[in-house]
């Protein structure tokens, strides 16, 4: 026994030496390049934001953010491994390195940014929380929801907002906690809850996939601000920059009128607008400043399009989800989307 104790002492004395060797490396870009693909955390199934199409390919607004980042790094928007994460597993997945970035309709909040050690790189969708009810319930305002049973996704800002809202209005409700979007839909349709609450865009997306969408209405009240944006781990600013400016490139491209159709042509010669040149890499070398190729932004735009194209493709008025641009229009068109300049 004495020998064992002595051995243990010896080991403990040596412990601090090896401690330094096991801490995690911070260079996410190198890891991604080495792996040959980007591990991107997405929604496990929300039409318009991240859902598999009939060929089994993930597509949606959030999926295109992943594709844009992959295009910027590899020059190929297909080099993404999509990892569906639930509302309650997403931050753990990000913190543990299971995913390199998170693009899953995630609300940017103070505590998530600071205490949970995430870095939000921007906002790719301005949303707000709403309520959806069956028309048969005969309710026209959220103020009439006293005493209802409400399906809420757990691990979301939604469940905190609804608690605050009902408390503030002095109303009572019965929460039915739900882990995945598919489960919420099943519970709501089978009548286990009167009301389904979530981000208004998500409600519209869910409603579009119901067998009889017209039997359900989204109530007019929006009870919260839900700025949804991609996030990365705290502590790797270089990686954060790449994801942030990939998103900004999408927004700037729309503002500058660069689309997936004309990007190649605009890059062919110098334009009068110097910012287009800088964005497309024909003037200066912004790419080198973040460790990417000169034409990184051009690759993004040719492979996924600009923000406007992405929006119209997945959630716009011509899709089953049918959302107006609203606050998600460019700042020049009365919306909130605004990218810092490419300079």
């Amino acid at each position: 026994m004495k020998i064992i104790t002595r051995a243990a002492h010896l080991l403990l004395a040596a412990a601090p030496l090896a401690l330094a060797a096991t801490s995690v490396s911070a260079a996410t870009l190198d890891e991604v390049k080495e792996a040959g693909q980007l591990k991107c955390g997405i929604h496990e199934g929300l039409a318009g934001f991240a859902a598999p199409n009939s060929d089994g390919q993930w597509q949606g607004l959030d999926v295109d953010i992943c594709r844009a980042v992959a295009a910027a790094i590899f020059g190929d928007s297909e080099k993404v491994e999509y990892i569906p994460v639930t509302g309650s597993t997403r931050f753990t997945a990000l913190a543990s390195g299971e995913i390199d970035m998170l693009a899953r309709t995630t609300t940017w909040t103070f505590s998530r940014d600071t205490d949970l050690k995430n870095e939000f790189v921007g906002i790719n969708f301005y949303d707000g929380q709403g309520f959806m009810v069956p028309k048969a319930l005969g309710v026209s305002s959220a103020l009439e929801l006293d005493g209802t049973t409400i399906c809420v996704n757990t691990g979301t800002t939604t469940e905190l907002n609804v608690a605050d809202y009902f408390r503030g209005k002095g109303m009572s409700y019965e929460p039915v906690p739900i882990e995945t979007g598919a489960e919420a839909q099943q519970q709501f349709l089978s009548g286990s809850c009167d009301v389904f609450t979530g981000d208004a865009s998500g409600l519209a997306a869910n409603r579009a996939t119901f067998p009889k969408p017209d039997d359900y209405v989204v109530l007019p009240e929006i009870i919260s601000k839900e700025p949804l944006g991609p996030a990365v781990r705290h502590g790797d600013s270089e990686w954060e920059d790449i994801v942030r400016w990939s998103l900004n490139a999408l927004i700037s491209a729309e503002e500058l009128g660069v689309t997936s159709k004309n990007a190649e042509e605009l890059a062919g010669s110098l334009n009068e607008n110097a910012e287009i040149n800088r964005l497309l890499g024909t003037e200066g070398d912004l790419g080198a400043m973040i460790g990417l190729e000169t034409d990184w932004a051009k690759t993004i735009i040719t492979s996924v399009g600009n923000y406007g194209e992405i929006f119209e493709r997945h959630v716009g008025v011509n899709t089953p989800i049918g959302l107006e641009r609203g606050v998600n229009a460019l700042w020049t068109e009365g919306g909130l989307l605004y990218s810092p300049p490419f300079r």
């Binding site: 020998i3 064992i4 051995a7 243990a8 080991l11 403990l12 412990a15 090896a18 401690l19 330094a20 096991t22 801490s23 995690v24 911070a26 509302g87 309650s88 931050f91 753990t92 913190a95 505590s111 998530r112 205490d115 949970l116 050690k117 048969a136 319930l137 006293d146 005493g147 209802t148 049973t149 757990t154 691990g155 469940e159 905190l160 609804v162 608690a163 605050d164 009902f166 408390r167 409700y173 019965e174 929460p175 039915v176 906690p177 739900i178 882990e179 489960e183 099943q186 519970q187 089978s190 009548g191 286990s192 809850c193 009167d194 781990r233 705290h234 502590g235």
Partner: protein, 425 residues
Amino acid sequence: MGFIPTSPRRSFHIGQLVYDTRYRAKTVQVIAAITIVAAFWWLGANIVGNLNALGKDFNLAFLNAPAGYDINQKLIAYDNRMSHGRAALVGILNTLLVSFLGCIAATIIGVFVGVLRLSDNWVINRLAAVYVEAFRSVPLLLWIVFIFAILSEALPQPRDFRGETATASMQLFDSVAITARGAYVPRVAFTNSISGNETVVPRDGVSAVASGPTDWALILAVMVLSVGVVILLRRHAARVQQRTGRRPTIWPWQALLIVVPTGLVLYFLGATIVQPYLKGFNFTEGTFVRKSLLALWLALSLYTAAFIAEIVRGGILSVSTGQREAALALGLRPNKVMRLVILPQAMRVIIPPLISNYLSLAKNSSLALAVGYMDARATLGGITINQTGRELEGMLLLGIFYLILSFLISGAINFYNRSMQLKER
């Protein structure tokens, strides 16, 4: 040439550590100890290093921060301004509730099916076998989700009970409403409650009722007292029987002792049965047994009962047939043979494996997540971790909770086991 015998050399060389039995055991121990310590040290260093890299610390202060979320099923007072610690406690109580209900139901069903499995009747025997195989061979999670889906899809919604053309109606003389959200069953409340603060008028024209912990404590105390007196009475009867050979008739007294005091207390408290009824969007009043609890409880007990049935069958088969034949030869009837001769002996074989089944039931209750039952895993290990980002602390606390729960369960059953064992003197 003389042969000079050399005395054995007392020096030590390194090979002896392996080949010399005097040292070998110690060598192995030291190597094992080094490996274990190294493994733990590596894990610890990894945690410390990674937390540092993420800029996180180890801190339990989050338990005092306001939780901010609501919990539907709460056995103690809770609202969303209370702390994460309180929310964890609500979850822990929900885990205890479903584990307790599950263990009781699983034992009853398990013993019943286990005995049926030994029936001479071919149909009963086979039916029991099919039940056991079906539940034992399919993963528990599937059963939970399956039962939950059946409850969701097959049962009517509260609004189906409303109006002239109601498509659903309440059961048992309009006292129980079984809906797709769960069952609303009558509850007992008191018109002269001594502690209740939630005075409610169940319906127009009915006097207000309330209920509180003191009411129930009073009733429980009176019942315990009655049972205590009954036990004394039975001991007295046993002594009389020892002395005179004849047992006095005590059952009327027993019945009186049980019924009258409790009945009097209930009368003075003004006990009333409050029935659920439809109001607004939902049923109100009565006790609401949520669908998530029902599904989880049913699935856990049916699943575990299949294992318990086999343990019971094995236990009964382990009692030698001579015991049964001897008991029958003494003129005991078959049910008495089972109750007085076979089961007491079978229990010694049954109880030890029963413990591990209770343990797995309690731990399996963490699958509650699948049906949105708010147990400890869903509050402390789910929403709290997610809202505060304290994965390590939350999971450690959760692990400690399940560890303590398991110790308590196995401790309690081991205590019972010792009382059932053969007393060797």
